[in-house]
């Protein structure tokens, strides 16, 4: 449901109708940005912003901090696993040796 893709706003084409152009991996398309423009984000400030595009509308601003945080959690999980494995290795080796005998 609801195919959406991150794109970067590269130009404002019509500030009255809130029409902008986004770039998705080199492909460009005009979209409507009225759902992501408010007092905190006036239309002039939108160029360079990453948005989630759905059926020609920017439906959400992509939160860079949150994206980095999600990835950081995953990295930590990976580090933790690696550490645990390191700690377990001696017992594994012992177990293997016992089996070998």
């Amino acid at each position: 449901m609801c195919l959406g893709i991150p794109g970067c706003i590269v130009s404002i084409d019509n500030a009255d109708d809130l029409v902008a152009t986004v770039d998705v991996s080199g492909v460009r398309r005009q979209i409507n940005i009225s759902c992501v423009v408010d007092e905190a984000h006036p239309v002039e400030s939108c160029v360079g912003d990453w948005v989630l595009v759905h059926v020609g509308f920017a439906m959400s601003r992509i939160n860079e901090v949150e994206a980095a945080e999600t990835l950081r959690l995953l990295r930590e999980l990976g580090d933790l696993q690696a550490e645990l494995e390191n700690m377990q290795r001696p017992t594994d080796v012992v177990a293997a040796e016992e089996q070998g005998l």
Binding site: M1, C2, H54, S60, I62, L74
Partner: protein, 381 residues
């Protein structure tokens, strides 16, 4: 591709799979049956099949593919009504590509186009409005389908048409809401689901408050999930942690896109243009109260159902179709009597075979036919 490729990273997938396996190993649970997790959203179903996520998961986790494809659940009668509008000589009928193949009782829009109707595929409702601007002597009707995610775009297009004073544009409104449908699934007596992956893009519009009842009254955990395969794995892991720790909460994995409070501009546009229907018919699930919207009187001139008399036919789902049971996770697609026989993507009987988002079509397309049967045979033996 930024914000995409990072979330398709294979090394991180391995980490999550291992974490899921470890969690499962120490969890206290009923070992006689798998944990059933429903991804409500068709976008998730698509990603799961597209990236082969299901095969990476331990056997003790079963993904149940939910009703979250607005194209699939469109009842035949509504398709017939759309075709009837498209058949009017003055009409240009603009639609998203995936609605073209949905069968009506007489024909699909694809067939209507072959029969001479002016059916155009568009990417955005705004493109349909542009068609109206360019063709002032014709009536442009946009086939409004989609859940809460898509609703605001159609509403904003209506508001734009009003601002510009465009009179030859209207919406054939079939927008539906997923939240009451989750409730309907939770209310079904044969429910076995252990938790939900929440629809990330619906959530970016409505926020996470509307799901609270799932945790509070139905005591099921939910994790609002993004659509990249890593998002899905991480959400499953978060869900397992909730189950393991005995929590039932609405958590959000997709924080980079779906803010807790949703998008108030989008919601305001929705509230301005639409009002709730008493009930709406879903293919496979029947009539669900307050699960669809129609255009308010104030915008009645943009409502294709008022502009053109539609037959408003009701056509029952085929009796042999077991989509409802598949949707609730009672049976798997391949266990349906007609799956892959009378019901194929070329000649779909049920909702779930209609679009590639549908659970049955996905199984069929990505080779679940064989795998499914093998598993079924193995479980019998």
């Amino acid at each position: 591709m930024r914000y995409v490729d990072e979330f398709r990273d294979r090394a991180k997938a391995d980490v999550l799979i291992k974490a899921i396996e470890q969690l499962l190993a120490r969890m206290k649970r009923d070992e006689t049956r798998p944990l059933q997790i429903m991804e409500v959203c068709g976008g998730h179903t698509h990603s799961i099949f597209r990236y082969g996520v299901e095969g990476m998961l331990p056997k003790s986790i079963e993904l149940v593919h939910g009703p979250g494809c607005p194209v699939c659940v469109l009842p035949m009668g509504r398709v017939d009504d759309g075709v009837a509008i498209a058949e009017r000589p003055e009409v240009i009928f603009a639609t998203f590509g995936d609605a073209m193949r949905v069968p009506g009782s007489r024909k699909s829009l694809l067939q209507a186009k072959a029969d001479g109707c002016d059916v155009r595929m568009v990417y955005s409702p705004m493109d349909a409005l542009a068609l109206a601007r360019r063709n002032p002597e014709r009536e442009v009707v946009f086939f409004g389908i989609g859940f809460e995610t898509t609703m605001p775009s159609t509403a904003l297009t209506v508001l734009q048409a009003e601002r510009e004073g465009i009179e030859n544009f209207s919406i054939f409104c079939n927008h539906i809401t997923i939240v009451p449908t989750i409730k309907a699934i939770l209310d079904s007596p044969d429910l076995r689901l252990d938790g939900f992956l929440g629809p990330g893009h619906v959530s970016m519009v409505i926020g996470d408050a509307p799901y609270e009842f799932i945790a509070r009254y139905y005591k099921r955990p939910m994790v609002i999930a993004g659509f990249e395969p890593l998002d899905i794995l991480q959400s499953i892991w978060m869900l397992l942690k909730q189950i393991d720790e005995g929590r039932c909460e609405i958590e959000n994995q997709y924080t980079r896109v779906a803010a807790r409070e949703g998008n108030s501009i989008a919601l305001q546009a929705v509230a301005r243009v639409y009002e709730l229907r008493e009930f709406f018919e879903w293919r496979g699930l029947g009539s669900i109260d307050h699960s669809g919207v129609k255009i308010r009187d104030a915008y009645g001139r943009f409502d294709a159902e008022r502009k053109f008399a539609v037959p408003n036919a009701r056509i029952a789902d085929p009796k042999s179709c077991q989509c409802g049971e598949v949707l609730k996770g009672v049976i798997k697609p391949w266990q349906c009597k007609v799956f892959g026989r009378a019901c194929t993507p070329e000649t779909p009987l049920g909702a779930l075979m209609v679009s590639s988002e549908g659970a049955c079509a996905a199984y069929y397309q990505y080779g679940g036919v064989k795998r499914g049967r093998d598993e079924a045979e193995a479980s019998v033996a």
